[in-house]
Amino acid sequence: MCPAPSPTPEPDPPATGQNVTSGAAVHDLTKRFGPVQALGGVTLDFPGGQVTALMGENGAGKSTLLKILTGDHQPTGGRITLEGQPLTLESPARARAAGIRIIPQEPEIIPYVSVAENVYAGALPTSAGRRLDRTELRRRVTADLDRLGFTGVLDPDLLGSQLTPAQRQLVEIMRAVTGEAKVVAFDEPTSSLSEHEVDALFRLIRRLRDQGTAVIYVSHRMQEIFQLADRIAVLRDGNLVGVQDARSTSVDELVRLMVGRDLSTMFTRRRADRGRLVLDVKDLTTEDVRNVNLQMHAGEVVGLAGLVGAGRSELALALAGDRPVLSGTVTLDGQRLRHGRPGEVIRAGLGLAPEERKAQALFLHRSIRDNSSLVVLERLRRLRFVSRAAERKLVQQYADRLRVRAPSIEHEVRKLSGGNQQKVVLARWLARKPKVLILDEPTRGIDVGAKAEIYQIIADLAEEGVALLVISSELPELLGLADRVVVMQNGRVTGELGHEDATEEAVLSLAMADDIAGVTPAGASS
């Protein structure tokens, strides 16, 4: 796991807001979804001028709490107060007007309007009646981009449908901080951002805090929590199990609160000898990826690092046969793969758990079982009839192993928390057991306990001889997992680092090779 700043193990009483009349609070808040109790009576305040972190396992109820605060869900019971005054939030519009903003876990983007309009949707500037004032809109967005430090990464004229995941997240962030905000909640905002944007985001959060805004911050990344938070509230099974002062608590204590037991958080993998060559990529060029050469061996974990838009996901999709290949070859176990045929690639033995689970992997209205078994159906069928018993057994096995939190495997995936949805995607590929498995941001939105589990699974798979390509924006994770790290920038591989040489600094300097004048890409090591 990520190394935590050494905390002082001093059991201070939980910090409460210094100023009861600023910020928001919830009192005895409950929420039920049919049989699922998502929140079971949470009383918690979010004082102004402080960053309150919200932690908890996948499905603990963090997003639900935030959704209630923004009027998106109606609570089953309990009260909300803002600046000491009771508040009923019958709609998101009401919450917005009251000054409560949320950056949701899954960005919601309007596809065919510009970034500028996406940011100001619902509050577009008008002049002379309802005439849209485009000049003013542009002025405001440009100013916002400048203020937030996103100027280079986000073109305000791009259409929503053209944005990358990171850019979508930035749009959500911009939306939330326009206008007068008293409470701003961030639901795992960094899960698709890279270091550069994360820095800008943290500056923004600190500025908001200093202006007296109540900031709520949800994340599974301990490092960030300790960098940002003043106080840390931990939810478990929809109940508040403790509020800790960030200066006086420790990672271990938080983990114990979250999962109810001790967990070894550091991950070290026993490195096996490299097996036979399974994947050989030669001079692969697509629209977004140029001249990529990559070799992967059985039992090897290769990390793929890079900044936002470096082309890692594009490379993954190209390998999975989902991108038109302009030139170059991909050979899997001696078999040359044809592009444009994902099915053939899967049958040849390559699997991809893609980056955007909702858009690229999940069938939200279908059950966990349907979602998990999709790529193994051909093994479960006889005369094309799927054996349900075998299917259920298999899915149950992987759901248990990944600790998917749901009443049953027949539960619809859209009703799962974000992290649990990610686990369903992983379960699909674990069940398939391919020769080469590409995991694009596999721990995005995954809680500590499950993360450890996933690391273990990656290790086990490598042990079994699977070659793994792991894409992650969390460098510590990547460095901990990978036998070697391949770094990309602008669609090109800029270097490769062996496990020993792979430090954060080395990776970052390769990731920004073009930007650092005069530095030639480091030669491939190991």
Partner: protein
């Protein structure tokens, strides 16, 4: 911690359930279709009280027979809607098949089997054409089949010169299809039952069906899961072509001759209505044969009842519209859809 409990919940989508016999019926019906069953019961009870002959065996046979052609099309419409498409040209396809079956029959010296075979063959061709236009022409399915609606209607009219063709009621096979009964149930209704059961099994029990749901639920995800979407789409449209051809042959058998437009115009709307009322989401990925058949039955019983009561067709239009809305509103209330926002 991990909280997967092995029993199925009541949230399971229709056709998802266990393997056992008694579960199968419920899974076929689907939990969320209870309001349709309720509506059907109300309609049956109401007209049963108003008119003593309404619930008679012979009237039920009449209702079933009248609903057969719509039912066949609604079943395949359900499949294509589940996989995210739509087929607006089904009515015109029925017309083509009807004309072809009768004309081939007549011109080959009353060879019924040949008539049937050629009609089915033409149905496959038409369906594959639809699929190819959609897949390789990259035309939106709605537009492509809207074009088909006009084009195939024109084709049927050109073939038949716009008039009813041939006469088939001197042939045993056609007479059996149109008027025969087996075990007290009309032959055409048996055909509907056979098609519906086959398609239901296909959708719920085979990997093909799973893949169809996957394609409609999220095409990107389906593609990345290795499903050959294009192949599936062409196959689904071909299936529609075959079933529409069967419907056209039954139309010929029932009316006695090949009908280019009469009896088939407007069937697309009826089929889509039934599928949507039966719980198909028009954006794909959701629905089942059970719900669709219930909706077909509901609409059929309603129409017959209104006619039996001698209600004039103007009032029937108003009543059908109103009842359709009421049925859906009740269904939505029961399933507790959220009120804020677009209620799709």
């Amino acid at each position: 911690m991990t909280t997967i409990t092995p029993q199925a919940t009541k949230d399971a989508p229709p056709g998802q359930g266990a393997v056992g016999g008694s579960r199968t019926l419920l899974s076929f019906v689907g939990g969320q279709n209870l309001s349709l069953i309720g509506a059907l019961a109300v309609v049956l009870a109401l007209f049963g009280i108003l008119n003593e002959n309404y619930l008679s065996v012979s009237n039920m046979q009449v209702i079933a027979e009248a609903a057969t052609i719509t039912g066949l099309l609604a079943v395949v419409q359900t499949v294509v809607i589940i996989c995210g498409g739509l087929d607006i040209s089904v009515g015109s396809q029925v017309g083509v098949a009807s004309v072809v079956s009768a004309m081939v029959f007549t011109s080959t010296g009353d060879n019924a089997l040949l008539g049937v075979a050629v009609a089915v063959g033409v149905g496959v061709l038409v369906g594959v054409l639809n699929g190819l236009v959609i897949v390789y022409g990259r035309v939106n399915p709605t537009i492509a089949t809207l074009a088909g609606l006009a084009a195939y209607k024109g084709l049927a009219q050109l073939l038949s010169d716009g008039r009813a063709q041939g006469y088939v009621l001197n042939d045993d096979i056609f007479v059996f299809l149109g008027r025969g009964k087996v075990a007290g149930i009309p032959a055409m209704v048996w055909i509907l039952i056979a098609v519906a059961v086959a398609v239901h099994l296909l959708l719920t029990r085979t990997d093909i069906g799973r893949n169809i749901y996957a394609i409609g639920g999220n095409d990107t995800a389906a593609r990345l899961a290795g499903i050959n979407i294009n192949k599936y789409l062409v196959a689904v449209y071909a299936l529609i072509g075959v079933v529409a051809a069967i419907a056209g042959i039954l139309l010929t058998a029932r009316t006695g001759s090949g009908q280019p437009t009469s009896g088939s115009e407007g069937l697309e709307l009826k089929a889509i209505t039934a599928a949507a009322l039966g719980g198909c989401a028009l954006r794909g990925g959701k629905g089942g044969i059970g719900g669709t058949l219930l909706a077909v039955a509901l609409l059929g019983c309603l129409e017959n009842g209104l006619t039996v009561e001698g209600i004039n067709s103007f009032w029937q239009n108003v009543a059908q519209g109103a009842l359709l809305v009421i049925a859906v509103v009740i269904q939505q209330r029961r399933s507790g859809e959220r009120a804020v926002g677009l209620p799709t």
